[in-house]
Amino acid sequence: MTSVLTVQEVRINEEIDIVHVRQAVREVAVSIGFSLVEQTKLVTAASELARNTRVHGHGGEAKIDLEKADDGTTTLRLVFTDNGPGIADVELALTDGYSSAGGLGLGLSGARRLADEFDLRTAPGEGTTVSVGFRARKPARG
């Protein structure tokens, strides 16, 4: 059994909300003892995905979950949900350098590389949910 605890929820509407997501993710990552490099990867992935939620999904929500497995390992999971237009061609959207908004096209593919676990659920007209998981290298205390 894995226990899941949602520690923070952040609405993403305005541009400043991307900063709010970064700060919330940093706070949680620090609290469970992620190293500086891991924190930076987490916050960077969060920044990319929050921007996608705002720009492509026309706003939505970020959820920060802590999952504790029976073996004592902790996974920090970020779930970004929007009710935007969805992604018609997932494979294309995950291709490095592909951008539908004039960006670098590294948001989704880059976040996938930074994370230990990646999941994307989307359909045209049904919004998008992206989830990335980062495993804590050592068991978190408390």
Binding site: L36, T40, V43, R51, D96, G103, G110, L114
Partner: protein, 120 residues
């Protein structure tokens, strides 16, 4: 939330970025800096990012674009002081920023800009 300062040091613009930049802040910086390069006829732009704990793809592209626009205005750009964890993350993200000059410290960056100015 962010503090950006631009100081003219002889013919080099020394830019210091600190804190949390929104995408809008990054775009405003690019515009301000490029205008500044043209107005001051600067030969070099030194961007100190040691105060940044995060450089995502948007900010990386902005740095790249600043360097590109500055080059068109005859100024060389050097990014200095990137934190190691930021460098590791950028590479994993897929951004190695080829063509962007880098140095570890402001002093090294100035040396590099002065050296290339002398070679002209």
């Amino acid at each position: 939330m962010s503090a950006t300062s631009v100081v003219e040091l002889q013919d080099v613009l020394l830019v210091t970025i600190q804190g949390e930049l929104t995408d809008e802040d990054a775009m405003a910086l690019q515009e301000e800096l490029t205008t500044n390069v043209a107005r001051s006829s600067a030969r070099g732009v030194l961007i100190d990012v040691s105060g940044l704990d995060l450089v995502d793809s948007f900010l990386a592209r902005t740095l790249h674009d600043i360097a590109g626009a500055s080059a068109l205005l005859a100024a060389e750009t050097v990014v200095v002081g990137m934190r190691p964890e930021v460098a590791i993350t950028l590479v994993e993200l897929g951004l190695t920023l080829p063509g962007l000059g880098t140095a570890l410290t402001v002093a090294d960056g100035l040396d590099r800009l002065n050296g290339s100015a002398r070679r002209r």
